[in-house]
Each structure stands twice: as structure tokens, then as C-alpha cells.
Point group: C2
Chain length 358, copies 2
């Protein structure tokens, strides 16, 4: 078991990573105050793990709210269902919302907790690798709008993140690999030793070796906690965690969010962002080849769909991270160090888009 701390100034909370944590009543008693809780989960995860979590909550008043599974249900209406459950069970300001599931469940439940009675406590129990290394940490909560992803939300920190690695046992291989994309990202933007460790240990991770998974998750959370502690609201350094996401977002949007898991699109986006960083002279060609090789080793895609450079550029400009028309990109200045810039030759961007997307 590994324990880390997040400290954003106005809020501090522990992240605990390891096996058999869901039913650990001592841990839950120490980290979750309040006698009444609402478990928010979905129809796939709840049958697998809700009973385990309930056993860790013995002695408390426990209600639940089971949402439908899938990104298409990450809506304001789903948040409304959580409000309905909180009201129906007469939960008050002392209640704690427990998000048991992947990123979708965590985002909805966190947003509902942020708004219910202008803010009640919530804790994250992430059950996917992606949620354990990324979305459960840092307090970005929210739901999608038909006009765009995560357009409605709040910055709202949990009181605890408890990542039980046993829950990864039932995670489909494809989702495990997609989660690895974000781990690779942390190595690329700020941790060369992690990148090198991944080059040596990708196969152990894919084989779900417990020690390897715990190390990868703990290292990822430590990096995210440190960055979020310095820049909760993404006014500065937190933006580097979007490495690969602007290209990836264009690929996801152009394929209607149906063909690629988020992590797969990010993998493709990271490769393109690395290629572009090389093209404008920031890094050596060898870095691009190491990225491609590691993505391949991790079973992630390296050949993007032919969505066309014009459509891609349009989608990148629509992305909400774009200010006043200039596409701000996260680029590598070396392996392990990222910069945010909109100062580059437009021709170079076109060249990368042409090579990968035409």
C-alpha cells in the first residue's frame, strides 16, 4: 500500500493505492467522516464492487445511486439523478458522496457533490487504470453538454482518493492499455526515469503484475498531485498534463467518440505532438521513435485515422483550450520536459497533420 498527499492550499487529502482497500473499514473510518453516505456507481461496476465497499462501510447509513455505464450518460440529467437520490434519502450537509467507478462516474459524482447544498464531501474510489492515474486526482469534475465535453463542471477536491488495485482484475485489456497511455504521458512531460521504467516494464503491466501496477499508479499520482498542488485551476503548469490531448481531441471528435477510447486517442495525439516537437527543432528524431516504440509495446495505436488535416485543424481550433484563434500546443523541449506555446510556424503544423492524417 502506498499513500500520497495532495495539497492545493485550501484543501488537502490522501491518495491510497494498493490491493484490498475497498473493504478496509479502518481506512474508510480514518478518511471519510460522516455517518451517512451515498455510493454513486454504474450498472457494470456496482454488481462487481459495491458489496465490497459496503462491507467497509458497515455501521453507516448507506444509500446508492446506480447510473448507466458510458460516456454518453455523462450529462446534466445524470447529475440530476444524483441530486434526486441525495434528496430522496434526506442526506444533508454532513453526508459524503462516494464515487465508485471510472472517470465518468467520478466526474458526475464529484460535480453533484460540488453543487448539492453548495458543496458536500466526496471521495473517489476509481476502478479503472485511467481513473486511478488521472481523473480521480485533482478535482476536475463535470458533465458533458451536447455542444462539447466537460462544458459544465466545477473545480472541487475530494476528501480522499482510494485506488484499490484489485478492481483492475476485471478491467478489459483494451481499457488497461488506454490507461497506460496517461502513465506514458507523465513520463514524457516530466519524468524521464518513469519513461525508462515503462520501456522495461510494459509487459509486466500488461500482465497485471500487482507490484508493477502499484508503482505505475503511485508514480503517476505523485506527479499529478505535485502539479495540481502548484496550479489547481490550470492557469499555468497544469496545462502540460494536456500533452497529446489537443491532437487526440480532434481524432476523438472526428470519429464521433466511437472508435477510440480516450487513452487511445491521447496515445495517437502524443505521437503527433512529439513528431511536431521534432519537426520544429525542439527534440531529436530518436525521441519520436522511442515514443512510437513504447506505445507499440503497450499495445496502443500509433497510426491515426485519415480524418484529413483541414478537419483536424478546425476541431483543434474549436477545442476550448484554444484562445482567440491561435492553437496553443503542449510540446516537448526534451524527453521529460514540456512547454506550452502558440509560437511556431504554421507550415510545420500542417506538415505533421498531413503526414499523420491525410
Amino acid at each position: 500500500m502506498e499513500t500520497l498527499k495532495v495539497d492545493v492550499g485550501h484543501a488537502r487529502y490522501p491518495i491510497t493505492i494498493g490491493p484490498a482497500l475497498l473493504a478496509r473499514r479502518d481506512l474508510l473510518d480514518a478518511q471519510i467522516a460522516g455517518e451517512a453516505v451515498l455510493i454513486v456507481s454504474n450498472s457494470v461496476v456496482a454488481p462487481l464492487y459495491a458489496a465490497r465497499l459496503r462491507s467497509g462501510l458497515a455501521g453507516r447509513r448507506v444509500a446508492d445511486c446506480i447510473l448507466e455505464d458510458g460516456e454518453q450518460y455523462k450529462t446534466l440529467q445524470a447529475a440530476g439523478r444524483v441530486f434526486d437520490a441525495l434528496v430522496a434519502h434526506r442526506l444533508n450537509r454532513d453526508a459524503t458522496v462516494l464515487a465508485l467507478g471510472g472517470g465518468v462516474v467520478g466526474d458526475i459524482a464529484g460535480f453533484a457533490a460540488a453543487c448539492y447544498q453548495r458543496g458536500v464531501a466526496y471521495a473517489q474510489f476509481p476502478t479503472t487504470l485511467l481513473a486511478q492515474v488521472d481523473s480521480s486526482v485533482g478535482g476536475k469534475t463535470g458533465v458533458n453538454h451536447p455542444g462539447g465535453k466537460n462544458l459544465i463542471g466545477a473545480f472541487y477536491q475530494p476528501v480522499a482518493v482510494i485506488a484499490d488495485t484489485d478492481t483492475l482484475a476485471t478491467l478489459p485489456d483494451r481499457e488497461l492499455r488506454a490507461g497506460l497511455a496517461e502513465v506514458i504521458k507523465y513520463g514524457l512531460v516530466c519524468d524521464p526515469p518513469l519513461f525508462a521504467w515503462l520501456e522495461s516494464n510494459a509487459s509486466q503491466l500488461l500482465a497485471r503484475d500487482a507490484a508493477a501496477l502499484t508503482h505505475a499508479i503511485a508514480r503517476s499520482c505523485a506527479i499529478k498531485a505535485s502539479i495540481v498542488g502548484r496550479d489547481e485551476r490550470e492557469h499555468g503548469v497544469r496545462a502540460i498534463l494536456n500533452f497529446g490531448h489537443t491532437f487526440g481531441h480532434a481524432i476523438e471528435a472526428a470519429t464521433d467518440y466511437r472508435e477510440y477510447l480516450h487513452g487511445e486517442a491521447v496515445a495517437l495525439g502524443m505521437l503527433m505532438a512529439t513528431d511536431f516537437s521534432n519537426r520544429i527543432g525542439l527534440i531529436e528524431r530518436s525521441v519520436v521513435e522511442r515514443v512510437r516504440a513504447l506505445l507499440t509495446l503497450a499495445g496502443l495505436p500509433t497510426v491515426p485515422p485519415r480524418i484529413g488535416r483541414t478537419r483536424a485543424l478546425e476541431l483543434m481550433q474549436m477545442d476550448k483550450k484554444v484562445l482567440a484563434g491561435a492553437v496553443r500546443l503542449i510540446l516537448l523541449e526534451r524527453l521529460g520536459s514540456a512547454i506550452v506555446t502558440s509560437d511556431y510556424a504554421a507550415g510545420a503544423l500542417e506538415a505533421t497533420l498531413t503526414e499523420y492524417l491525410e
Copy 2:
């Protein structure tokens, strides 16, 4: 024109009070950044004042979202309509939401601004006396749930409050009087000179004398700004602003929110809270009579409906300000000084409820 400042530490903003402010382009340019704005208003206020505000916004990109008028429309769905408008007009993080209307419009628009892209700027243009002296200041935003008022919301401060007293010209008399109830409240809980001034100037206020209204609004806002500056999230002193509200809430709820305006119910509640403060020996009987006399002078009700003490107590206990069964009440320890307590003889509370409600 009077200008005040609110300072809650992480946010500071001006409150400007006076005639002919809506069309004051210099003022708006100074206080509202961003080229693109969304005016959120309702079907009663927009035809009266939206054009005036638009003239003050000349040169900007202005869109609007006109909601239905009435507390029954203060719903998550209404906030959803504001999100739809923000997305439809492709407004981004630099946009500012402008709430033009009473408390309902301000609460919905403020909540939508708090959530859109995890927070965009908003400014309050309150057009009712109640909103000008109370709800537009202090950052409580939110919507109702069928299970209770303001159950969904956020603490989120505006970038400016601009109270154009000219908009009170079209306010129905009954709503003007209801707004005065909150002004009287400020006198009672922390400003004896204001209370005495109201005793001498109630008729000027009811006659809509511009100087008298500006004074009453400015003094109310100064008090609220000072209290909110010390306790934004109502962990302590801010609770005294709920004076009369626990009794008033029971009256509103027992009459299905149909018979009394909020300020009218608060007037009745303040009288009962004052009576109760006297009954347990905190204040002289003469204070109760001064309160009754001032409410009468202001044209506010002083005889509550016969809702019964049992039902009232039940509703007071359901109120979300009640912790673990004990009804916390805001009481007067003298005119101009309030305390929060749940330490009193239950019999005394029953006596007040019996005298006023049976």
C-alpha cells in the same frame, strides 16, 4: 451614486448603487471585462430594461437568454437553458454572464456561470429591492429541487453588482414592501441607527424617494458586504443574516410558497423571533413592539397564518439549517445584535408558536 467594495479574500468586487446605471457605458467598460456577454433575464424584466443594458454594452458581442418569470422556474432545467445559450452562441471562458432581474434570475445565472467551463465571470444587475439589498451580494447562487429550495448551487462571487435604482420604478408595491423586510432585518441584527432611520423614513421609502432608497440600499449592501467578507461560506457570523428565516421558512412551506412573498414571510418570522427572544429574557418587550410598529409602517404583515405549532416545528426541523434535530435559531440579544443558539427552553418556543400560529 454610491460605490462599495466586497472583499472575500479570493475575490473582490464593487457594488454600485444609483439611478441611470444600466446604460452607463463608462461604468460597464470599467467593471466588466470581455468582449462577449450573455444577458440572462426573464420575460417580464427583459422587455422593460434589456434595451437599456444593451445600450450600455454597445460595441460588444451581446447574446441573451430569456427565462420564464417566477420562483417555480428556478430549476436545474432553467440553468440548462443558460448552458444551451452559452454553447449556442459559442461563448468561451472569456465571456461574462450578466444577470438582469430579481433574485431568481440572479441565482440561476450565477449558478450557470459558476459551472460553465468550470467558471466564467458574471455580473449582477438586480432589478428588485430584495435583490438589490440582499441576493445580488455575497455569491450564494443556485436553483431549487422539488425536495427543497436552493438545494443545488455554488458559492460563486460576481465580478460586479450594479444596482440601478431606476428599475424600482416598475416594481409592484407589494414587492417593494417585501424588499424592505430585509432592510429592516439588517437594522435589527446589526445596525440600530439604520433601524431608527427606518422608523423615521419608511414613508419616504414607500413613496420611492430616490435618495431614501439609495441610502437604504447602500447601507444594507455595506452590512452584507462586511459580513460576507468575514464569513463567505456561512460557517459563523453570516448565519445571523438568516434572522427570521427559520420561522419564515415554515410559514412559506406550510402555505406552499403561494400566499406570501419571501420578504413577507421573513417579516412574520422576524416578529416571531423577536417575540421569542423576549420570551426567554434576552430583550425587553418594547423591542417587540418597535418591530411590530415598523413592520406595520412598512406595510408588511404582522399576523401569521394559523398553520399550527406542530406543523411549524416539523417544518423548522426539516429546514436545512437544522443540525441533528436541534432547531438552531437566530435571536436578538438586544436591538442591533443577534446570536445563533439552540440552547433554550423548548417550552418557550412552543409558547411563541402557539401564540402566533394556533
